[in-house]
Symmetry: C2
DNA sequence: CTAGAGTTTTATCAAACAGTCAAGAATTTC
DNA sequence: GAAATTCTTGACTGTTTGATAAAACTCTAG
């Protein structure tokens, strides 16, 4: 009998091993080339097995893709879940940003996979977004609103705040090619990460308006 | 004789019309499905012509893609080019952010096309990025550094500052599918845009730390 | 109005690709 | 250790897709 990944039943040692190898290879391919761009041959090759063998574990290309996404969305939302309503607002936000940035550093393929999917209109995971992501964002947006009402953080639209944290952090994974061109080879990956962390902390906490205003009164530009 | 898009020569009326129609159809397809995901048939169909006829104007699929990118990169960088070194720093940044946000609203397909290309490692435009984008960013980063040294804006890494403006604004085009799920259908596109603009202004100018500074003194909010 | 340049289409091809099948090899179970 | 089950593979199928050839048609300059 055949044992398919989607069915709920006991998995053999070989099944577990091979499915893991397939999913890792698929993550590599899908994140680099998108759904259409990745080929089963390529994935099978990278997983070190024949195409028919791969298709023995996952009937269709789309099944691999969906298994990947389902497995990842959970991990992906973990940092937001950890935002603690009982914690201090600014430190909470600060560490949420840092966690997201760490994920961009440590799981760039996952980030790109999601980006690719959303970019194309999220045809395959729109339902998942509605059932998993939206309620979580709504919940945490309420937490943020509470902090705002208490005057603990500036009053802004909490959902747009979350968007901006997602976009600025994931940028370093999704647009890595561009980041590397702009920053040049001077600083290694680790240095870039620290620079980004430092910058984002300043941005989100203090913004760009000078904190200490030495020049008060009518402003005269000096040049 | 054949008249190819890449060759520099006079173009007939029909050539101009058809190339424009092809490029528009291609933008639609490439931005929605990526390079591999878009098919010539699909593009030809959307442009209202037969596939061989399309290939009469652009020999290869990649030629269409490259023509598109070349035409767009210039427009895409225009807002950054307009950042005026002689202007007031905060208003300059504010309007740069707004211009970028307007582009995300008005040219979402273009934004997604670029995002798709960068996401996959920018294999086809890395050279263009190095020759066009990097020098411009370097130049404007110097401008920003000057403003920081003069104490007119907070001291941060200017290139990361630019990244954050790109990522937060383009997010609304590139991740539109997700944004729509999270925000729900309550607010129309125009309302969303205004919310985003307001939020980003607060974020970039003041950050999230509650403002202790009362708007006192002769200091006039100049924008 | 016509010759030649420019444009469009029909027919076609080869490669790439997702997915199937049946038979054989390996592993587990009893 | 034999039977049952699970795993693996080579050969294959039908389709999609990027691209070409050449004939037929249209437009425009003179």
């Amino acid at each position: 009998m055949k044992a398919r990944a989607t069915e709920t039943q006991r998995k053999t040692r070989i099944q577990k091993e091979n499915e893991a190898r397939i999913l890792d290879a698929a993550l590599e391919s899908f994140s680099a080339h998108g759904f259409r761009g990745a080929t089963i041959d390529q994935i099978a090759d990278h997983a070190g097995m024949s195409k028919p063998n791969l298709l023995y574990y996952f009937r269709r290309k789309q099944d691999i893709y969906e298994a990947l996404i389902a497995r990842l969305l959970d991990t992906w939302l973990e940092p937001l879940r950890e935002l603690n309503p009982a914690g201090d607002p600014l430190p909470e936000l600060r560490s949420y940003i840092r966690r997201k940035l760490e994920m961009a550093r440590d799981f760039p393929r996952e980030s790109r996979l999601f980006a690719n999917e959303i970019l194309q209109g999220a045809p395959r995971i729109k339902r998942l977004l509605e059932s998993d992501l939206k309620p979580l964002v709504d919940e945490k947006a309420e937490v943020l609103r509470g902090w705002m009402k208490a005057g603990q953080i500036n009053s802004v639209d909490p959902r747009h705040l979350i968007f901006s944290i997602w976009s600025t952090t994931q940028h370093y994974a999704d647009f890595d090619a561009q980041v590397q061109v702009v920053l040049g080879p001077d600083r290694g990956a680790e240095g870039r990460f620290e620079d980004a962390a430092r910058y984002l902390e300043t941005l989100f906490l203090d913004g760009l308006r000078p904190q200490v205003k030495p020049d008060s009164g009518p402003r005269v530009r000096s040049f």
